[in-house]
C-alpha cells in the first residue's frame, strides 16, 4: 500500500516536472508540443463526456470547438483594441460560453435520439455550420481565416504572453482546471445517470429520469469544454479559418479519444498524447502518416475496443493470471509475426506512395535508414517476402494458441 502511494507520488512529481519543463528550457518544440497537448487533452476529454460517458457518437464536435476558437479570436482582438477591459486570462471563459450557447441551441434538436440517428444529425449539423461559415468570409475570414494578436495590455498577472512559455503556462492552468472539473462532473449524480443512459436508456426512464434531459445536459457540458479548448487553441495559434468546424477536426478528436480508451476517465489524455506524438514525429518521417494513423484506429476498434489505456491496464492482470513465463512465450511467438508484418507493410506503403506521388519515381527513397530505388523489383520482392513471412508466422502462432481459447469459451457462456 505504502509502496503504491510512494509510486503515485513519484509519478505525480515526474509529471509536474515534465509539465513545468518549458518554463526553464528553451526548447520551442517541447513547449509547443506540451501546449498543443494541453489543448488536445481538454478537447478530447470534452468529447468523451459524450462518447464514453453518455454513449453518444458525434461526428460534429468540432462545431463547438470552432465556436470557442472564433469567439476567442474576436475577444482577444476586442481586448487588444481597447474595446473590452477583460484581462486576457479570462478569454477561455468567453470560449466556454460560446460553446455552451451553441450546444444549448443545437443540442435541443440533436439529442432527441441516440445511436445512429444522433451520429447522423451531428454530421449534418457540422456540415451545415461548415458550409455556412464558408459562405460568410466577413465573419470567418474565408481561406485566409481570422487572425489576432494576443499581446495585449490588459492582463491579470502582468505577463505579456508574447513568449511561448508564458502562453503555455496560461493554457496549462486552464487545461488542468478543465480536466479536474470534467472528472468531478463525471462523478456527480448527472455523470452517473449519464453512464446509466449509455448502458440502457430505456431502463433509466423507469427510474424517474428523462434520458433526453440527461443527454441534453451532458451535450451542453461537452460543448462548454470544447469551446474552452477552442479558445485555448486560439490563444496558442492566434489564427483559424472556417475549416476548423469541419469533419477533419471532429474525426481527429474522435480518433484520439477512442485510441486512448473511452471507458477510462483519463483515457483521452493517453489518446491525445499518442496522437500528437504520432502527428508531430510521423509526419516528419513519412507523407503516408495519415494512412498509418487510420490503420491504427481500425486495429484498435477490431482488437482492443478499450483502447491503449485498456491494453496498458490489462497488462498487469494478464501477467498475474498467466505467469511471466507464459506471457514471455506468447510475446516471443507473436512478436516476430507482428514485426515482420509491420516492416513489410510499411515498405509496401512507402514504396507505392513514392511511386505514385514523387516527381521522379527513380529518385532514391529513404526507407529504414537506407536509400532504395522504388522502381527496382528487388525491394518490392523483399517487402512482399516480409509480409508473407508474417502471414506464415501468424498462422503458426494461431495454431499454437488455439488451445487456451477453447478453455476460455465455456467461461464466457457462463458469464453472459
Amino acid at each position: 500500500m505504502t509502496r503504491s502511494i510512494s509510486l503515485l507520488l513519484l509519478g505525480l512529481l515526474a509529471l509536474s516536472a515534465a509539465l513545468l519543463l518549458p518554463l526553464v528550457s528553451d526548447s520551442r518544440f517541447l513547449t509547443l508540443f506540451l501546449t498543443q497537448l494541453a489543448v488536445m487533452v481538454t478537447f478530447a476529454m470534452s468529447y468523451n463526456v459524450l462518447l464514453g460517458q453518455t454513449g453518444l457518437l458525434s461526428f460534429g464536435h468540432a462545431v463547438y470547438f470552432g465556436g470557442g476558437v472564433f469567439a476567442a479570436l474576436y475577444l482577444i482582438t476586442a481586448i487588444g483594441g481597447g474595446a473590452l477591459a477583460l484581462p486576457l486570462e479570462f478569454v477561455p471563459l468567453g470560449g466556454a460560453l460560446a460553446g455552451l450557447a451553441m450546444a444549448a441551441v443545437l443540442g435541443l434538436v440533436s439529442v432527441r435520439r441516440a445511436g445512429t440517428t444522433f451520429a447522423m444529425i451531428s454530421l449534418g449539423m457540422a456540415e451545415l455550420i461548415t458550409a455556412a461559415a464558408m459562405v460568410f468570409p466577413s465573419v470567418f475570414g474565408g481561406e485566409q481565416g481570422v487572425s489576432t494578436d494576443r499581446m495585449v495590455d490588459v492582463t491579470l498577472t502582468g505577463l505579456g504572453y508574447g513568449r511561448p512559455s508564458e502562453i503555455y503556462l496560461l493554457v496549462l492552468v486552464w487545461a488542468l482546471v478543465s480536466v479536474a472539473l470534467m472528472v468531478f462532473l463525471s462523478r456527480s449524480p448527472l455523470g452517473r445517470m449519464a453512464n446509466a443512459v449509455r448502458d440502457n436508456p430505456q431502463r433509466v426512464e423507469f427510474l424517474g429520469y428523462d434520458p433526453y434531459w440527461i443527454r441534453f445536459l451532458q451535450f451542453c457540458i461537452a460543448g462548454t469544454f470544447a469551446g474552452l479548448a477552442g479558445s485555448l487553441f486560439a490563444l496558442t495559434f492566434e489564427i483559424a479559418n472556417a475549416e476548423v468546424f469541419g469533419l477533419r477536426t471532429s474525426a481527429n478528436v474522435l480518433i484520439a479519444t477512442y485510441l486512448g480508451g473511452i471507458t477510462y476517465v483519463l483515457g483521452p489524455v493517453v489518446g491525445a498524447f499518442v496522437v500528437l506524438l504520432l502527428e508531430l514525429n510521423l509526419a516528419r518521417i513519412t507523407d503516408a502518416w495519415l494512412f498509418y494513423y487510420g490503420l491504427l484506429f481500425l486495429a484498435i476498434i477490431l482488437f482492443a475496443p478499450r483502447g491503449l489505456t485498456g491494453i496498458l491496464a490489462g497488462l498487469p492482470g494478464a501477467l498475474r493470471r498467466h505467469g511471466p513465463a507464459s506471457c514471455l512465450r506468447r510475446a516471443l511467438v507473436w512478436g516476430p509475426a507482428v514485426l515482420s508484418g509491420l516492416v513489410g507493410g510499411v515498405m509496401l506503403v512507402e514504396l507505392s506512395y513514392h511511386l505514385s506521388n514523387s516527381f521522379d519515381p527513380s529518385d532514391p527513397l529513404r526507407l529504414f535508414w537506407r536509400d532504395v530505388d522504388a522502381t527496382n523489383w528487388g525491394v518490392w520482392a523483399l517487402a512482399l517476402g516480409a509480409c508473407a513471412l508474417s502471414a506464415a508466422l501468424v498462422l503458426r502462432a494461431r495454431r499454437g494458441g488455439r488451445r487456451p481459447q477453447v478453455v476460455a469459451a465455456p467461461m464466457v457462456e457462463e458469464g453472459s
Binding site: F59, A114, L128, M134, V135, S138, I255, L298, L302
Partner: protein
C-alpha cells in the same frame, strides 16, 4: 425555360445516380442495422478501379470488372471486419465503417495521388444525343440514365422475384423476423453488404467520369448520401428514392440560377443594401452559393418537424 428543363433533366440524372448509392445503403441499414459510413468510399473505389482498368483495357472492361472487384472487397470487409465488431454494438460498427472511410481515402491518395485522375468518358459515347435550345445533351448521359434505370428495375425484380429478395423484404418490415426464420443470416449479410457496395461501385464507374475522380469525392458524396437516407426515413427504399430525386433536382436547379437578395430588394423598388459589416454576404449570396448548404438545412428542418424522415417508420 430551356435552362429549366435542362436543369431538371440533369437533376433527375444526378438523383438516379444518388439512388444507386442510397438504395444499397438503405438495404444494408435495414438488414444489418449498420449505417455504412464508408459507402461513398466504395463509390470512389469503383471510379478509381474503372479508371485503372480503362487505362489498361477500355471503359467496358472497367464497367464489368470494377463493380465486381468492389463487391468482393465489400464482402471481405463484412466477413473479417464488421462481423468482428458486431458484438460490440451499432456504435462500434459505425465507428468501424468510419475508420474504413478514413483509411480508403488515404489509400486512394497513396496509390493514385492527391490530384484528380484523367478518367474520361468513352469515345464511343462522346457525341451529342440531341439538343434543346442549342444546348447539347451528350450520349453518355443517356447511357448513364439507361444504366440507372436498368439497376432500378433489376433491384425491383430481385426484391420481388427471388428468395433472397423476399428475405430482405421480410427483414425490411420486421427486422427481428430474420433470425426466427433460421436462414443462414451471416451469409445473407455478407451477400447484401457485398451487393450494396458493388452497386455503389457501379455508380462510381459511370459517375466518376461524369463528375471528377479525386480523393475528396467520397466525402462530398458521403455526406449528401446520409442526408438522403435520413431525409427519406432510415430503412425506407421508397423514401430514399424520393429523397434522391428531390435533392438531385434541387441541387442542380440551384446551381443553374442566379439572383440575390439585393436583386430582390432592388426589384421590389428598394435601395440596394450596403455591402459591409459582418454577415453582409447575405445580400450577395446566389442560390449556387447556397447549393452545398441546402441539403443539410433541409435535413435539420426535417428532423425538427418530423424526426422519422419522409417515409420512415423507425426512429432509430
Amino acid at each position: 425555360m430551356d435552362t429549366f428543363a435542362f436543369a431538371v433533366v440533369n437533376g433527375l440524372l444526378y438523383g438516379m445516380l444518388l439512388f444507386m448509392l442510397a438504395s444499397g445503403l438503405t438495404l444494408i441499414f435495414s438488414l444489418m442495422g449498420v449505417l455504412n459510413f464508408a459507402h461513398a468510399s466504395f463509390f470512389m473505389l469503383g471510379a478509381y478501379f474503372a479508371f485503372q482498368l480503362s487505362s489498361v483495357g477500355n471503359f467496358w472492361l472497367g464497367l464489368v470488372l470494377a463493380p465486381l472487384l468492389v463487391g468482393l472487397l465489400g464482402a471481405t470487409v463484412e466477413r473479417y471486419g464488421l462481423r468482428v465488431v458486431h458484438r460490440h454494438g451499432h456504435v462500434a460498427e459505425l465507428l468501424f465503417t468510419f475508420g474504413l472511410a478514413y483509411l480508403i481515402e488515404e489509400l486512394v491518395r497513396l496509390v493514385w495521388g492527391r490530384q484528380p485522375v484523367p478518367y474520361r468518358i468513352p469515345e464511343a459515347l462522346d457525341f451529342p444525343l440531341f439538343s434543346i435550345g442549342g444546348i447539347d445533351y451528350s450520349a453518355y448521359r443517356g447511357f448513364m440514365f439507361a444504366i440507372a434505370v436498368l439497376v432500378f428495375l433489376g433491384l425491383l425484380a430481385l426484391l420481388k422475384r427471388t428468395r433472397v429478395g423476399l428475405m430482405v423484404q421480410a427483414a425490411l418490415s420486421h427486422p427481428d423476423v430474420l433470425w426466427a426464420l433460421g436462414h443462414n443470416v451471416p451469409r445473407l449479410f455478407m451477400l447484401v453488404f457485398g451487393g450494396g457496395v458493388a452497386l455503389a461501385g457501379l455508380a462510381g464507374v459511370i459517375g466518376g467520369n461524369y463528375l471528377v475522380t479525386e480523393p475528396g469525392m467520397a466525402h462530398q458524396m458521403g455526406t449528401i448520401l446520409f442526408v438522403i437516407v435520413v431525409f427519406g426515413g432510415l430503412g425506407s427504399l421508397l423514401g430514399a428514392f424520393l429523397a434522391s430525386i428531390l435533392i438531385g433536382i434541387l441541387q442542380t436547379l440551384m446551381v443553374a440560377f442566379d439572383g440575390t437578395l439585393t436583386d430582390l430588394v432592388v426589384g421590389l423598388g428598394g435601395a440596394a443594401p450596403q455591402a459591409t459589416g459582418p454577415f453582409h454576404e447575405i445580400w450577395t449570396i446566389t442560390p449556387a452559393n447556397l447549393a452545398p448548404v441546402l441539403p443539410y438545412l433541409l435535413l435539420v428542418v426535417l428532423l425538427i418537424v418530423r424526426p422519422r424522415g419522409l417515409l420512415g417508420t423507425r426512429e432509430t
